[in-house]
């Protein structure tokens, strides 16, 4: 049994490599950061669908949309006792740009750089944060970005106190916290656990759970045994079959939460047959979407074929393709491949990737396509993917922030298809050279009329679904098993919206 004031979560946490909000970009890392830092804008746990001011109390955009002024909430303090001021917020953003770690692109795409960020992000007084952007981005996108992990506000004084060689506290903040969120970091032991302690000065009030322990339990079956025994309160990684196995247990409640992650197969156009759009479409017809979702993916995936997940603004929920070998064969014959062809599919070696790949292999065979599966560790897979050396590759993609641009930027934009481009969006990785569609994407991000913009994204999604080199199949849904006495464990579609502070038991 777990202590009454402690929330114990079992999860595979081996993805954490840092807990610095300027660097954290792994799911578990972001989740922990979310609970330790307040952000400029945010989705409150009480309504995770609505973007609201966080550390900021209000905001106002200039007419040209290039400058946004935030008013900082009054009376807030960091866990250290220091007051939260606009200077902290400005410092936090500047710090991200200056450190220039992985997630920095979220805000550097606004036109900020090491050299100009001190001018673009300013705190004219203790309550006012002013940001200016140079790029042509719609303000709603900018506000979304201010709710991302890099917009976490750090305690400038504390961080500066731990500065070493002008590293802006980088070395220290990896494994320490300096925020105004609901929790502070007690300990992070790699491959073992993360322990959080409630922050009494949190603006949302003292959380009921004084301590949150996230235990590293890599084996889902072990998680299941633990939750059945009541040794943990929440199991995060149960598979569909395991959830089915505990269905009759009255002590356990399973919540299903759609996620923003998409599972898709990338078809590299360097592989000759895929250059024909009819082949790409045929491939779409050779996946048994419903079969999988109703069997081994039951509860853990839902069918979704466009590049922006459903449940979010501007998503396109109609699915074009069903499993139809006859149609696929016809298309393949038209394209000149009546007998199909042999192709390699790189896939993750663990579930669900391994099983999805095997199902695809089996159904594609019905269209005459002989698939050889090459299983690999996730990191190996990505290395290969980024070098465009695959033929087919099964992988997942999660949006970086809650605006369709994040995915459009990757799925529907490829400004430079040469072998060493400035960035490697998914379209590039699949050698999909699309000057037209790239323009459409660029237009959409600039559009300031929300309705028009929504339509543009829907069109883009349709276009990619019809022609693109992506067999987008599923949208992830998480099944979280909780002990029946656990209430209000708030979990949204991404790691940015997992909150522990309202939980009681």
């Amino acid at each position: 049994e777990t202590p009454t004031d402690t929330l114990v979560i079992a999860k595979n946490i081996d993805d954490i490599i840092t807990l610095d909000p300027a660097e954290a970009y792994e799911l578990t890392g972001i989740e922990v950061v979310t609970n330790m830092y307040d952000r400029i804008m945010r989705f409150e746990p009480t309504d995770i669908n609505k973007l609201v001011p966080g550390v900021a109390e209000s905001y106002a955009a200039s007419d040209d949309g290039k400058t946004i002024t935030f008013k900082i909430r009054k009376g807030m303090t960091f866990a250290s006792g220091n007051p939260v001021t606009a200077a902290d917020a400005a410092y936090s953003l500047q710090r991200v740009v200056k450190l220039d770690k992985t997630p920095a692109f979220l805000i550097t795409q606004l036109g900020w750089s090491k050299d100009n960020v001190d001018q673009m992000v300013t705190a004219p007084d203790a309550d006012t944060l002013k940001i200016t952007i140079t790029e042509d981005f719609s303000p709603s996108l900018v506000l979304s970005l201010m709710s991302s992990v890099v917009a976490s506000v750090v305690d400038m004084q504390t961080v500066k106190a731990h500065e070493v060689d002008g590293d802006m506290g980088y070395a220290w903040l990896k494994s320490n916290s300096a925020g105004s969120g609901a929790y502070t970091l007690k300990a992070w032991k790699a491959n073992d656990s993360v322990v959080l302690e409630a922050n009494p000065s949190y603006r949302g009030g003292l959380p009921a759970m004084k301590r949150v322990v996230i235990k590293h339990v890599p084996e889902p079956a072990a998680q299941r045994l633990q939750i059945e025994k009541g040794d943990i309160d929440i199991a995060r990684d149960l598979t569909g079959d395991q959830v089915a196995g505990i269905a009759g247990n009255k002590d356990i409640v399973v919540n299903t939460i759609p996620q923003a992650t998409l599972y898709y197969v990338g078809l590299n156009l360097k592989f000759k047959p895929f250059q024909d759009v009819r082949v790409r479409q045929a491939m779409h017809y050779l996946v048994d979407y419903d079969g999988m979702v109703n069997s081994f993916l039951k509860g853990s995936m839902k069918v979704h074929q466009s590049f922006w997940p459903s449940g979010f603004w501007a998503s396109l929920d109609e699915n074009m393709y069903t499993f139809d070998p006859a149609k696929a064969k016809a298309l393949l014959a038209e394209a000149g491949y009546p007998d199909g062809f042999a192709v390699e599919l790189d896939a993750q070696n663990s579930s669900p990737g391994a099983n999805i790949a095997q199902s695809i292999q089996s159904t594609m065979a019905q269209g005459g396509i002989k698939v050889t599966i090459i299983p690999a560790e996730q990191k190996t897979l990505l290395t290969k993917y980024r070098a465009r050396q695959h033929q087919m590759l099964l992988v997942y993609w999660g949006p970086d922030y809650m605006d369709p641009h994040t995915n459009a930027d990757s799925f529907a934009r490829n400004p430079d298809n040469s072998d060493s481009p400035k960035s490697k969006p998914l379209a590039w990785r699949n050698s999909w050279d699309i000057p037209e569609i790239t323009k459409m994407t660029d237009a959409a991000v600039r559009e300031r009329d929300t309705a028009k913009r929504e339509q543009m994204y829907k069109d883009l999604q349709k276009k990619v679904m019809e022609e693109g080199p992506f067999i987008i199949m599923f949208q992830d849904t998480k099944q979280v098993a909780e002990r029946a006495n656990v209430k209000n464990f708030v979990m949204g579609p991404s790691a940015d919206v997992v909150y522990f502070n309202l939980t009681t038991k």
């Binding site: 084996e219 079959d241 395991q242 196995g245 048994d288 579930s351 095997q358 090459i374």
Partner: protein, 300 residues
């Protein structure tokens, strides 16, 4: 007819080399057959061979890779003797076909490990001096290496797949063999019968390959049969980490590992291939013990 053949084989006065060789084989075979444990082992190994050779016949018309998502995770029944796995594939057919893969792994490892171990060990033991020092230092390095890291690294470097898993396992498995072979060579090299060959003017290579290696071979073979279980399980371990056989190939280790998610509710998915591994390693172990008794000159 059989009676005279038996006599011909059992003759203690063979008239030709062929008769002598066959007679010795026959005596060895008899020694194994009359030892219940060794016989059990032999039968298991033979059964494995038969199952592997005739897998398609034995599995009937059921395909080991045909998926039936509707009938997934079905318990053992008359339709699916051993039940079905998470993709609705027939576990009986997969277990039967898996024998092939398992046998391939085991044989390939044997083909790699024994020669490497023997070559390194006997050369070091016989030549001595700096050759010995160098070879044994290399052996030590490989021995002191975290085995799984080495195997994983090689498997990862070479890419997944049975062949590469085999290479990876072999590369980590040879050092103990080299050690055994060296230790044995050192004693053999000191023996009078080797001195006798030296005195006859034989060259080092001849002494190594014709006189020393055959003597080390038997203990290496015995050790190898005893290691079979370990080899299958290491392959399974690599499979568990995604570096073994490629899907949808039925491989026992991979089958066990893919069944572990459902082990608490659908025990058969992981347990049946696990039992197969157990039985086969049992077979090899028993046979190995029997072989050791037969090959040991003291028991002849």
């Amino acid at each position: 007819m059989t009676g005279s053949l038996r006599q011909w084989l059992a003759s203690d006065q063979p008239a030709s080399r062929r008769q002598a060789v066959l007679g010795n084989l026959a005596r060895g075979a008899k020694a194994i057959i009359t030892n219940p444990a060794a016989l059990t082992g032999l039968l298991i190994v033979i059964a494995l061979l038969i199952v592997a050779l005739f897998a398609p016949l034995i599995a009937g018309r059921i395909s080991p890779i045909a998926q039936d998502l509707a009938a997934r995770l079905a318990p053992p029944s008359s339709a699916h003797w051993f039940g079905t796995d998470e993709l609705g594939r027939d576990i009986y057919a997969r277990t039967v076909h898996g024998a092939r893969v398992t046998l391939t792994i085991v044989m390939l490892v044997a083909v790699f490990v024994a020669p490497i171990g023997l070559a390194v060990g006997t050369a070091a033991g016989y030549l001595g001096g700096w050759v010995d020092a160098l070879l044994m230092r290399i052996t030590d390095i490989f021995l002191a290496f975290p085995r799984l890291v080495l195997a994983l690294a090689f498997a990862a470097a070479l890419g997944p797949g049975i062949e590469n898993a085999v290479i990876a396992i072999s590369l980590t498995a040879w050092p103990p063999y080299a050690r055994i072979a060296r230790a044995e060579t050192v004693t053999i090299a000191r023996s009078d019968f080797i001195a006798a060959v030296v005195l006859q003017g034989a060259a080092s290579a001849r002494i190594l390959f014709r006189h020393i290696v055959p003597l080390c071979l038997s203990s290496v073979i015995v050790r190898l049969t005893l290691d079979m279980a370990g080899i299958i399980l290491t392959a399974a371990g690599l499979g568990f980490l995604g570096l073994g056989a490629q899907p949808p190939t039925a491989e026992w280790g991979a089958m066990v590992s893919s069944g572990r998610d459902v082990i608490l509710d659908q025990w058969w998915v992981a347990t049946i291939p696990g039992l197969a591994i157990f039985i086969v390693s049992l077979g090899f172990n028993l046979l190995g013990d029997g072989l050791r008794d037969v090959l040991d000159p003291k028991n002849a």
